[in-house]
Protein backbone atom coordinates (compact mmCIF):
# COMPACT_ATOMS: atom_id res chain seq x y z
CA UNK A 1 0.00 0.00 0.00
CA UNK A 2 2.85 2.29 0.92
CA UNK A 3 4.38 1.54 -2.47
CA UNK A 4 1.20 2.58 -4.29
CA UNK A 5 1.03 5.81 -2.31
CA UNK A 6 4.63 6.52 -3.18
CA UNK A 7 4.01 5.80 -6.88
CA UNK A 8 1.06 8.14 -7.14
CA UNK A 9 2.94 10.93 -5.37
CA UNK A 10 4.92 11.34 -8.60
CA UNK A 11 3.11 13.24 -11.32
CA UNK A 12 4.79 11.31 -14.11
CA UNK A 13 3.70 7.98 -12.65
CA UNK A 14 0.08 9.09 -12.40
CA UNK A 15 0.23 10.26 -16.01
CA UNK A 16 1.77 6.95 -17.05
CA UNK A 17 -1.03 5.05 -15.29
CA UNK A 18 -3.73 7.01 -17.10
CA UNK A 19 -2.21 6.93 -20.58
CA UNK A 20 -0.93 3.39 -20.21
CA UNK A 21 -4.24 2.05 -18.95
CA UNK A 22 -6.08 3.60 -21.89
CA UNK A 23 -3.53 2.35 -24.41
CA UNK A 24 -3.62 -1.13 -22.89
CA UNK A 25 -7.38 -1.09 -23.38
CA UNK A 26 -7.15 0.03 -27.04
CA UNK A 27 -4.34 -2.41 -27.80
CA UNK A 28 -6.19 -5.40 -26.38
CA UNK A 29 -9.41 -4.71 -28.32
CA UNK A 30 -7.58 -4.13 -31.61
CA UNK A 31 -5.29 -7.03 -30.76
CA UNK A 32 -8.15 -9.55 -30.82
CA UNK A 33 -9.03 -8.38 -34.34
CA UNK A 34 -5.44 -8.32 -35.59
CA UNK A 35 -4.68 -11.78 -34.22
CA UNK A 36 -7.84 -13.25 -35.76
CA UNK A 37 -7.20 -11.58 -39.11
CA UNK A 38 -3.62 -12.92 -39.05
CA UNK A 39 -2.27 -9.38 -38.98
CA UNK A 40 -0.36 -9.67 -35.69
CA UNK A 41 2.94 -8.76 -37.27
CA UNK A 42 1.60 -5.53 -38.72
CA UNK A 43 1.62 -4.14 -35.19
CA UNK A 44 5.24 -5.12 -34.81
CA UNK A 45 6.19 -3.55 -38.15
CA UNK A 46 4.37 -0.33 -37.35
CA UNK A 47 6.17 0.11 -34.05
CA UNK A 48 9.49 -0.07 -35.87
CA UNK A 49 8.32 2.55 -38.32
CA UNK A 50 7.28 4.57 -35.28
CA UNK A 51 10.81 4.35 -33.91
CA UNK A 52 12.21 5.75 -37.15
CA UNK A 53 9.68 8.60 -37.06
CA UNK A 54 10.42 9.42 -33.42
CA UNK A 55 14.14 9.58 -34.12
CA UNK A 56 13.55 12.02 -36.93
CA UNK A 57 11.26 14.11 -34.72
CA UNK A 58 13.95 14.19 -32.04
CA UNK A 59 16.57 15.46 -34.47
CA UNK A 60 14.20 18.07 -35.87
CA UNK A 61 13.30 19.01 -32.31
CA UNK A 62 9.53 18.91 -32.84
CA UNK A 63 6.77 17.25 -30.83
CA UNK A 64 7.26 13.49 -31.36
CA UNK A 65 3.62 12.65 -32.00
CA UNK A 66 3.19 15.30 -34.70
CA UNK A 67 5.59 13.36 -36.94
CA UNK A 68 5.03 9.82 -35.73
CA UNK A 69 1.23 9.80 -36.11
CA UNK A 70 1.07 10.66 -39.84
CA UNK A 71 4.08 8.51 -40.76
CA UNK A 72 2.80 5.43 -38.96
CA UNK A 73 -0.75 5.89 -40.30
CA UNK A 74 0.68 6.04 -43.83
CA UNK A 75 2.76 2.92 -43.15
CA UNK A 76 -0.32 1.12 -41.81
CA UNK A 77 -2.33 1.79 -44.99
CA UNK A 78 0.63 0.69 -47.06
CA UNK A 79 1.15 -2.58 -45.14
CA UNK A 80 -2.56 -3.34 -45.34
CA UNK A 81 -2.52 -2.84 -49.12
CA UNK A 82 0.46 -5.15 -49.50
CA UNK A 83 -1.09 -7.86 -47.34
CA UNK A 84 -4.25 -7.73 -49.45
CA UNK A 85 -2.68 -7.65 -52.89
CA UNK A 86 -0.28 -10.46 -52.22
CA UNK A 87 2.26 -9.58 -54.95
CA UNK A 88 4.94 -9.54 -52.30
CA UNK A 89 4.33 -11.74 -49.27
CA UNK A 90 2.98 -9.62 -46.43
CA UNK A 91 5.36 -10.91 -43.77
CA UNK A 92 8.40 -10.34 -45.97
CA UNK A 93 7.26 -6.78 -46.70
CA UNK A 94 6.86 -6.11 -42.99
CA UNK A 95 10.35 -7.48 -42.35
CA UNK A 96 11.91 -5.16 -44.91
CA UNK A 97 10.03 -2.09 -43.77
CA UNK A 98 10.59 -2.58 -40.06
CA UNK A 99 14.32 -3.26 -40.28
CA UNK A 100 14.80 -0.34 -42.68
CA UNK A 101 12.91 1.99 -40.36
CA UNK A 102 15.00 0.97 -37.35
CA UNK A 103 18.22 1.31 -39.35
CA UNK A 104 17.18 4.75 -40.54
CA UNK A 105 16.23 5.86 -37.03
CA UNK A 106 19.47 4.60 -35.47
CA UNK A 107 21.58 6.15 -38.24
CA UNK A 108 19.96 9.54 -37.88
CA UNK A 109 20.32 9.46 -34.11
CA UNK A 110 23.95 8.35 -34.26
CA UNK A 111 24.85 11.11 -36.72
CA UNK A 112 23.14 13.88 -34.77
CA UNK A 113 23.30 13.36 -31.03
CA UNK A 114 24.74 9.89 -30.65
CA UNK A 115 22.96 6.96 -29.04
CA UNK A 116 21.66 8.12 -25.72
CA UNK A 117 19.16 7.44 -23.00
CA UNK A 118 16.26 8.64 -25.19
CA UNK A 119 16.95 5.96 -27.78
CA UNK A 120 17.13 3.34 -25.05
CA UNK A 121 13.76 4.44 -23.68
CA UNK A 122 12.19 4.36 -27.16
CA UNK A 123 13.46 0.82 -27.60
CA UNK A 124 12.32 -0.67 -24.31
CA UNK A 125 9.83 1.76 -22.87
CA UNK A 126 9.92 4.36 -20.16
CA UNK A 127 7.34 6.24 -18.16
CA UNK A 128 9.60 9.26 -17.99
CA UNK A 129 9.46 10.02 -21.69
CA UNK A 130 6.08 11.75 -21.77
CA UNK A 131 5.63 15.48 -21.42
CA UNK A 132 2.38 17.14 -20.34
CA UNK A 133 1.24 17.92 -23.89
CA UNK A 134 2.03 14.39 -24.98
CA UNK A 135 -0.10 13.07 -22.17
CA UNK A 136 -3.12 15.18 -23.13
CA UNK A 137 -2.83 14.26 -26.81
CA UNK A 138 -2.40 10.59 -25.90
CA UNK A 139 -5.51 10.62 -23.76
CA UNK A 140 -7.56 12.26 -26.52
CA UNK A 141 -6.30 9.79 -29.11
CA UNK A 142 -6.98 6.71 -27.01
CA UNK A 143 -10.48 7.85 -26.13
CA UNK A 144 -11.13 8.47 -29.82
CA UNK A 145 -9.89 4.97 -30.67
CA UNK A 146 -12.12 3.42 -27.99
CA UNK A 147 -15.19 5.38 -29.09
CA UNK A 148 -14.80 4.56 -32.78
CA UNK A 149 -14.15 0.92 -31.94
CA UNK A 150 -17.29 0.61 -29.83
CA UNK A 151 -19.49 2.38 -32.42
CA UNK A 152 -18.34 0.09 -35.22
CA UNK A 153 -18.12 -3.06 -33.12
CA UNK A 154 -20.80 -4.97 -35.09
CA UNK A 155 -19.24 -4.15 -38.44
CA UNK A 156 -15.77 -4.98 -37.20
CA UNK A 157 -17.01 -8.38 -36.04
CA UNK A 158 -18.63 -9.08 -39.40
CA UNK A 159 -15.56 -8.22 -41.49
CA UNK A 160 -13.23 -10.11 -39.16
CA UNK A 161 -15.28 -13.28 -39.15
CA UNK A 162 -15.97 -13.32 -42.88
CA UNK A 163 -14.74 -10.60 -45.17
CA UNK A 164 -16.17 -12.20 -48.31
CA UNK A 165 -19.68 -12.45 -46.87
CA UNK A 166 -19.57 -8.89 -45.54
CA UNK A 167 -18.44 -7.52 -48.88
CA UNK A 168 -20.89 -9.56 -50.94
CA UNK A 169 -23.82 -8.41 -48.83
CA UNK A 170 -23.01 -4.73 -49.16
CA UNK A 171 -20.63 -3.78 -46.32
CA UNK A 172 -17.86 -1.34 -47.20
CA UNK A 173 -15.11 -3.73 -46.19
CA UNK A 174 -12.22 -1.68 -47.59
CA UNK A 175 -13.29 1.33 -45.58
CA UNK A 176 -13.46 -0.61 -42.32
CA UNK A 177 -10.10 -2.26 -42.97
CA UNK A 178 -8.62 1.22 -43.43
CA UNK A 179 -10.32 2.31 -40.23
CA UNK A 180 -8.76 -0.62 -38.37
CA UNK A 181 -5.33 0.18 -39.80
CA UNK A 182 -5.79 3.79 -38.72
CA UNK A 183 -6.82 2.89 -35.17
CA UNK A 184 -3.95 0.40 -34.89
CA UNK A 185 -1.44 2.98 -36.05
CA UNK A 186 -2.59 5.52 -33.48
CA UNK A 187 -2.61 3.00 -30.65
CA UNK A 188 0.91 1.91 -31.50
CA UNK A 189 2.32 5.41 -31.69
CA UNK A 190 0.78 6.39 -28.38
CA UNK A 191 1.69 3.10 -26.70
CA UNK A 192 5.26 2.75 -27.87
CA UNK A 193 6.44 5.59 -25.64
CA UNK A 194 5.64 3.54 -22.57
CA UNK A 195 6.08 0.05 -24.00
CA UNK A 196 9.02 0.64 -26.29
CA UNK A 197 9.43 -0.27 -29.95
CA UNK A 198 10.57 -3.81 -29.31
CA UNK A 199 7.79 -4.67 -26.90
CA UNK A 200 4.56 -2.92 -27.99
CA UNK A 201 3.46 -5.89 -30.08
CA UNK A 202 3.33 -7.91 -26.86
CA UNK A 203 0.66 -5.54 -25.57
CA UNK A 204 -1.38 -6.22 -28.72
CA UNK A 205 -0.97 -9.97 -29.07
CA UNK A 206 -0.81 -11.38 -25.53
CA UNK A 207 -4.21 -10.41 -24.07
CA UNK A 208 -6.00 -11.72 -27.17
CA UNK A 209 -4.20 -15.06 -27.09
CA UNK A 210 -4.68 -15.46 -23.34
CA UNK A 211 -8.42 -14.88 -23.42
CA UNK A 212 -8.95 -17.10 -26.49
CA UNK A 213 -7.61 -19.98 -24.38
CA UNK A 214 -10.64 -19.82 -22.12
CA UNK A 215 -13.46 -17.87 -23.72
CA UNK A 216 -15.52 -18.94 -26.70
CA UNK A 217 -17.77 -16.10 -27.76
CA UNK A 218 -16.44 -12.99 -29.44
CA UNK A 219 -17.83 -10.61 -26.85
CA UNK A 220 -16.41 -12.54 -23.90
CA UNK A 221 -13.01 -12.74 -25.62
CA UNK A 222 -13.10 -8.97 -26.14
CA UNK A 223 -14.09 -8.18 -22.55
CA UNK A 224 -11.62 -10.55 -20.97
CA UNK A 225 -8.79 -9.36 -23.23
CA UNK A 226 -9.52 -5.79 -22.13
CA UNK A 227 -9.50 -6.74 -18.44
CA UNK A 228 -6.37 -8.89 -18.75
CA UNK A 229 -4.56 -6.15 -20.61
CA UNK A 230 -5.31 -3.39 -18.12
CA UNK A 231 -4.49 -5.62 -15.11
CA UNK A 232 -1.19 -6.76 -16.64
CA UNK A 233 -0.34 -3.16 -17.38
CA UNK A 234 -0.85 -2.12 -13.76
CA UNK A 235 1.03 -5.13 -12.37
CA UNK A 236 3.84 -4.50 -14.84
CA UNK A 237 4.23 -0.83 -14.13
CA UNK A 238 4.31 -1.40 -10.36
CA UNK A 239 7.00 -4.08 -10.78
CA UNK A 240 8.86 -1.75 -13.09
CA UNK A 241 8.85 0.97 -10.45
CA UNK A 242 9.75 -1.34 -7.56
CA UNK A 243 12.72 -3.01 -9.29
CA UNK A 244 13.71 -0.26 -11.74
CA UNK A 245 13.11 -2.44 -14.84
CA UNK A 246 12.16 -0.89 -18.21
CA UNK A 247 8.35 -0.56 -18.18
CA UNK A 248 7.74 -2.39 -21.45
CA UNK A 249 9.70 -5.43 -20.30
CA UNK A 250 7.86 -5.83 -17.01
CA UNK A 251 4.46 -5.41 -18.70
CA UNK A 252 5.25 -8.02 -21.33
CA UNK A 253 6.53 -10.40 -18.66
CA UNK A 254 3.37 -10.05 -16.60
CA UNK A 255 1.37 -10.73 -19.78
CA UNK A 256 3.48 -13.81 -20.37
CA UNK A 257 2.72 -14.97 -16.84
CA UNK A 258 -1.02 -14.55 -17.34
CA UNK A 259 -0.83 -16.28 -20.71
CA UNK A 260 0.85 -19.34 -19.18
CA UNK A 261 -1.74 -19.46 -16.41
CA UNK A 262 -4.56 -19.28 -18.98
CA UNK A 263 -2.98 -22.02 -21.10
CA UNK A 264 -2.95 -24.20 -18.00
CA UNK A 265 -6.52 -23.24 -17.07
CA UNK A 266 -7.64 -23.98 -20.63
CA UNK A 267 -6.14 -27.45 -20.40
CA UNK A 268 -7.79 -28.11 -17.03
CA UNK A 269 -11.16 -26.93 -18.33
CA UNK A 270 -10.67 -29.01 -21.47
CA UNK A 271 -11.06 -26.10 -23.89
CA UNK A 272 -8.61 -27.14 -26.57
Amino acid sequence: MGLLKEIFSYGFMTRAFIVGGLVALCASLLGVILVLKRYSMIGDGLSHVGFGALSIAMVMNVAPLSIAVPVVVAAAFFLLRISENGKMKGDAAIGIISSSAIALGVTITALSSGMNADVYSYMFGSVLSMGREDVILSIILSIAVLTIFCLFYDKIFAITFDEAFAKATGTKVDFYNMLLAFLTAITIVVGMRIMGTMLISGLIIFPALSSMRIFRSFKSVMLSAAIISVCCFFIGIIISYAWAIPTGASIVLSNLGIFLIFVLLGKILGRD
Binding site: L36, K37, R38, L151, F152, Y153, D154, K155, F157, A158, T160, F161, D162, A164, F165, A166, K167, A168, T169, G170, T171, M212, F215, R216, S217, F218, K219, S220, V221
Partner: protein, 236 residues
Protein backbone atom coordinates in the same frame (compact mmCIF):
# COMPACT_ATOMS: atom_id res chain seq x y z
CA UNK B 1 -42.10 -13.52 -62.00
CA UNK B 2 -39.65 -10.68 -62.44
CA UNK B 3 -36.00 -10.83 -63.34
CA UNK B 4 -33.79 -10.24 -60.30
CA UNK B 5 -30.33 -10.46 -61.75
CA UNK B 6 -28.97 -10.38 -65.26
CA UNK B 7 -25.37 -11.01 -66.18
CA UNK B 8 -24.03 -10.18 -69.63
CA UNK B 9 -20.74 -11.41 -71.10
CA UNK B 10 -18.93 -11.72 -67.80
CA UNK B 11 -15.19 -12.16 -68.28
CA UNK B 12 -12.76 -12.44 -65.41
CA UNK B 13 -8.98 -12.76 -65.47
CA UNK B 14 -6.62 -13.83 -62.76
CA UNK B 15 -3.09 -12.48 -63.21
CA UNK B 16 -3.65 -11.93 -66.93
CA UNK B 17 -5.02 -15.44 -67.60
CA UNK B 18 -8.69 -15.48 -68.49
CA UNK B 19 -10.49 -17.88 -66.16
CA UNK B 20 -14.11 -16.99 -66.92
CA UNK B 21 -15.11 -16.07 -70.45
CA UNK B 22 -18.27 -14.51 -71.81
CA UNK B 23 -20.83 -15.87 -69.39
CA UNK B 24 -24.41 -14.59 -69.67
CA UNK B 25 -27.54 -15.61 -67.74
CA UNK B 26 -30.61 -14.26 -65.95
CA UNK B 27 -32.14 -15.19 -62.62
CA UNK B 28 -35.89 -14.77 -62.11
CA UNK B 29 -37.56 -14.72 -58.75
CA UNK B 30 -37.97 -18.25 -57.42
CA UNK B 31 -35.34 -19.78 -59.73
CA UNK B 32 -33.05 -22.56 -58.56
CA UNK B 33 -29.93 -22.45 -60.70
CA UNK B 34 -27.04 -24.85 -60.41
CA UNK B 35 -23.61 -23.89 -61.72
CA UNK B 36 -21.84 -26.98 -62.99
CA UNK B 37 -18.34 -27.47 -64.35
CA UNK B 38 -15.13 -29.31 -63.69
CA UNK B 39 -12.55 -28.30 -61.10
CA UNK B 40 -10.75 -25.22 -62.32
CA UNK B 41 -13.52 -24.25 -64.74
CA UNK B 42 -13.93 -20.98 -62.85
CA UNK B 43 -17.19 -21.59 -60.97
CA UNK B 44 -16.11 -19.96 -57.71
CA UNK B 45 -14.44 -17.12 -59.54
CA UNK B 46 -17.61 -16.46 -61.51
CA UNK B 47 -19.63 -16.33 -58.32
CA UNK B 48 -17.14 -13.95 -56.73
CA UNK B 49 -17.26 -11.79 -59.83
CA UNK B 50 -21.06 -11.57 -59.68
CA UNK B 51 -20.89 -10.61 -56.01
CA UNK B 52 -18.24 -7.95 -56.60
CA UNK B 53 -15.46 -9.74 -54.74
CA UNK B 54 -13.17 -9.94 -57.78
CA UNK B 55 -13.06 -7.37 -60.59
CA UNK B 56 -14.62 -8.08 -64.01
CA UNK B 57 -12.50 -7.25 -67.03
CA UNK B 58 -15.61 -7.23 -69.19
CA UNK B 59 -19.38 -7.60 -68.94
CA UNK B 60 -22.03 -6.34 -66.56
CA UNK B 61 -23.91 -7.55 -63.52
CA UNK B 62 -27.28 -5.84 -63.18
CA UNK B 63 -29.56 -6.06 -60.16
CA UNK B 64 -33.05 -5.61 -61.60
CA UNK B 65 -36.39 -4.52 -60.20
CA UNK B 66 -36.25 -3.70 -56.52
CA UNK B 67 -33.09 -5.76 -55.89
CA UNK B 68 -30.29 -4.02 -54.04
CA UNK B 69 -26.82 -5.08 -53.01
CA UNK B 70 -28.01 -5.48 -49.43
CA UNK B 71 -30.67 -7.99 -50.54
CA UNK B 72 -28.07 -10.62 -51.32
CA UNK B 73 -27.40 -13.67 -49.18
CA UNK B 74 -24.15 -15.57 -49.60
CA UNK B 75 -22.74 -18.78 -48.24
CA UNK B 76 -19.02 -18.72 -49.07
CA UNK B 77 -16.55 -21.54 -48.71
CA UNK B 78 -15.14 -21.75 -45.20
CA UNK B 79 -11.91 -19.92 -44.60
CA UNK B 80 -8.94 -20.89 -42.47
CA UNK B 81 -9.68 -17.94 -40.17
CA UNK B 82 -13.12 -19.28 -39.21
CA UNK B 83 -11.86 -22.67 -38.08
CA UNK B 84 -10.50 -21.35 -34.79
CA UNK B 85 -12.58 -18.18 -34.52
CA UNK B 86 -14.05 -17.56 -31.06
CA UNK B 87 -17.69 -16.64 -31.74
CA UNK B 88 -21.01 -17.96 -30.55
CA UNK B 89 -23.54 -19.26 -33.06
CA UNK B 90 -25.83 -16.36 -32.21
CA UNK B 91 -23.11 -13.78 -32.88
CA UNK B 92 -22.42 -15.32 -36.28
CA UNK B 93 -26.08 -15.51 -37.30
CA UNK B 94 -26.83 -11.98 -36.07
CA UNK B 95 -23.95 -10.62 -38.16
CA UNK B 96 -26.04 -11.54 -41.21
CA UNK B 97 -28.46 -8.74 -40.25
CA UNK B 98 -25.69 -6.14 -40.49
CA UNK B 99 -27.00 -4.42 -43.59
CA UNK B 100 -30.66 -4.71 -42.60
CA UNK B 101 -30.16 -2.27 -39.75
CA UNK B 102 -29.39 0.63 -42.05
CA UNK B 103 -27.27 3.43 -40.68
CA UNK B 104 -27.79 2.57 -37.02
CA UNK B 105 -24.67 1.52 -35.09
CA UNK B 106 -26.19 -1.31 -33.09
CA UNK B 107 -28.65 -4.18 -33.60
CA UNK B 108 -32.25 -3.51 -32.56
CA UNK B 109 -35.00 -5.86 -31.43
CA UNK B 110 -36.09 -6.34 -35.05
CA UNK B 111 -32.74 -7.76 -36.14
CA UNK B 112 -32.47 -9.90 -33.02
CA UNK B 113 -35.90 -11.40 -33.75
CA UNK B 114 -34.81 -12.06 -37.31
CA UNK B 115 -31.74 -13.93 -36.09
CA UNK B 116 -33.86 -15.99 -33.66
CA UNK B 117 -36.36 -16.74 -36.42
CA UNK B 118 -33.66 -18.04 -38.74
CA UNK B 119 -32.12 -20.17 -36.00
CA UNK B 120 -35.53 -21.83 -35.54
CA UNK B 121 -36.14 -22.06 -39.29
CA UNK B 122 -33.01 -24.20 -39.68
CA UNK B 123 -33.52 -26.18 -36.48
CA UNK B 124 -30.39 -24.92 -34.73
CA UNK B 125 -31.88 -22.81 -31.93
CA UNK B 126 -30.40 -25.32 -29.46
CA UNK B 127 -26.89 -24.36 -30.63
CA UNK B 128 -27.41 -20.64 -30.05
CA UNK B 129 -24.88 -20.27 -27.24
CA UNK B 130 -22.41 -22.85 -28.54
CA UNK B 131 -19.07 -21.83 -29.96
CA UNK B 132 -18.96 -21.89 -33.75
CA UNK B 133 -15.54 -23.53 -33.88
CA UNK B 134 -16.68 -26.54 -31.83
CA UNK B 135 -19.54 -27.49 -34.18
CA UNK B 136 -19.52 -30.29 -36.73
CA UNK B 137 -19.15 -29.42 -40.40
CA UNK B 138 -22.87 -29.86 -41.07
CA UNK B 139 -23.85 -27.67 -38.12
CA UNK B 140 -21.41 -24.97 -39.22
CA UNK B 141 -22.98 -24.94 -42.70
CA UNK B 142 -26.43 -24.54 -41.15
CA UNK B 143 -25.19 -21.62 -39.10
CA UNK B 144 -23.76 -19.96 -42.20
CA UNK B 145 -27.00 -20.62 -44.05
CA UNK B 146 -28.95 -19.00 -41.22
CA UNK B 147 -26.65 -15.99 -41.44
CA UNK B 148 -27.20 -15.78 -45.20
CA UNK B 149 -30.97 -15.93 -44.66
CA UNK B 150 -30.71 -13.06 -42.19
CA UNK B 151 -29.22 -11.01 -44.99
CA UNK B 152 -31.87 -11.76 -47.61
CA UNK B 153 -35.47 -12.63 -48.43
CA UNK B 154 -34.80 -12.67 -52.16
CA UNK B 155 -31.74 -14.47 -53.44
CA UNK B 156 -29.02 -16.64 -51.99
CA UNK B 157 -25.68 -17.68 -53.51
CA UNK B 158 -24.01 -20.88 -52.30
CA UNK B 159 -20.45 -21.89 -53.10
CA UNK B 160 -20.20 -25.70 -52.84
CA UNK B 161 -22.04 -25.81 -49.53
CA UNK B 162 -21.80 -29.57 -49.08
CA UNK B 163 -18.08 -30.16 -49.64
CA UNK B 164 -16.75 -32.22 -46.78
CA UNK B 165 -20.16 -33.25 -45.42
CA UNK B 166 -21.22 -36.88 -45.04
CA UNK B 167 -24.06 -38.25 -47.23
CA UNK B 168 -26.81 -38.03 -44.60
CA UNK B 169 -25.99 -34.46 -43.68
CA UNK B 170 -25.69 -33.61 -47.38
CA UNK B 171 -29.20 -34.86 -48.10
CA UNK B 172 -30.62 -32.92 -45.17
CA UNK B 173 -28.84 -29.79 -46.31
CA UNK B 174 -30.20 -30.10 -49.85
CA UNK B 175 -33.70 -30.56 -48.45
CA UNK B 176 -33.32 -27.35 -46.47
CA UNK B 177 -32.24 -25.44 -49.57
CA UNK B 178 -35.14 -26.85 -51.54
CA UNK B 179 -37.58 -25.90 -48.80
CA UNK B 180 -36.30 -22.34 -48.72
CA UNK B 181 -36.63 -22.17 -52.48
CA UNK B 182 -40.12 -23.71 -52.72
CA UNK B 183 -41.81 -22.33 -49.64
CA UNK B 184 -40.18 -18.94 -49.19
CA UNK B 185 -39.64 -18.22 -52.89
CA UNK B 186 -36.01 -17.32 -52.32
CA UNK B 187 -33.98 -17.74 -55.50
CA UNK B 188 -31.03 -20.10 -55.21
CA UNK B 189 -27.78 -19.93 -57.16
CA UNK B 190 -25.57 -22.83 -56.20
CA UNK B 191 -22.24 -24.21 -57.29
CA UNK B 192 -22.36 -27.96 -57.05
CA UNK B 193 -20.39 -31.04 -57.99
CA UNK B 194 -23.38 -33.20 -57.41
CA UNK B 195 -25.18 -33.46 -60.75
CA UNK B 196 -27.98 -35.76 -59.58
CA UNK B 197 -29.17 -33.25 -57.00
CA UNK B 198 -28.70 -30.45 -59.48
CA UNK B 199 -30.98 -32.20 -61.93
CA UNK B 200 -33.52 -33.06 -59.25
CA UNK B 201 -33.98 -29.64 -57.63
CA UNK B 202 -32.82 -27.04 -60.10
CA UNK B 203 -34.93 -25.49 -62.83
CA UNK B 204 -31.99 -23.81 -64.56
CA UNK B 205 -28.48 -24.95 -65.31
CA UNK B 206 -25.35 -22.97 -66.04
CA UNK B 207 -22.57 -25.28 -67.18
CA UNK B 208 -19.22 -23.65 -67.75
CA UNK B 209 -16.15 -24.92 -69.51
CA UNK B 210 -12.90 -23.24 -70.48
CA UNK B 211 -14.07 -22.01 -73.88
CA UNK B 212 -17.85 -22.19 -73.93
CA UNK B 213 -20.78 -22.40 -71.60
CA UNK B 214 -24.40 -23.49 -71.53
CA UNK B 215 -27.26 -21.65 -69.90
CA UNK B 216 -30.88 -22.71 -70.03
CA UNK B 217 -33.65 -24.63 -68.34
CA UNK B 218 -33.12 -28.13 -67.07
CA UNK B 219 -35.10 -29.65 -69.96
CA UNK B 220 -33.02 -27.80 -72.52
CA UNK B 221 -29.85 -28.89 -70.76
CA UNK B 222 -30.77 -32.57 -70.85
CA UNK B 223 -31.35 -32.34 -74.59
CA UNK B 224 -28.16 -30.38 -75.33
CA UNK B 225 -24.79 -31.87 -76.27
CA UNK B 226 -23.40 -30.31 -73.12
CA UNK B 227 -25.77 -32.13 -70.84
CA UNK B 228 -25.67 -35.47 -72.66
CA UNK B 229 -21.88 -35.56 -72.72
CA UNK B 230 -21.62 -34.64 -69.04
CA UNK B 231 -24.13 -37.22 -67.90
CA UNK B 232 -22.53 -39.94 -70.01
CA UNK B 233 -19.14 -39.19 -68.46
CA UNK B 234 -20.60 -39.50 -65.02
CA UNK B 235 -22.33 -42.79 -65.79
CA UNK B 236 -19.00 -44.25 -66.89
Amino acid sequence: MGIQLSCENITIAYEKTIVVKNISFQIEQGDYMCILGENGAGKSTLLKGILGLVPLIDGTVLLEGNMKKIDIGYLPQQTQIQKDFPASVYEVVLSGCLNQKGKSFFYHAKEKERAEYNLKRLGIEGLKKKSYRNLSGGQQQRVLLARALCATDKIIFLDEPISGLDPVVTTEFYQLIEKINREDKISVVMISHDISTALKSANKILHIKKEESFFGTKAEYLKSDFGREFIQNIEK
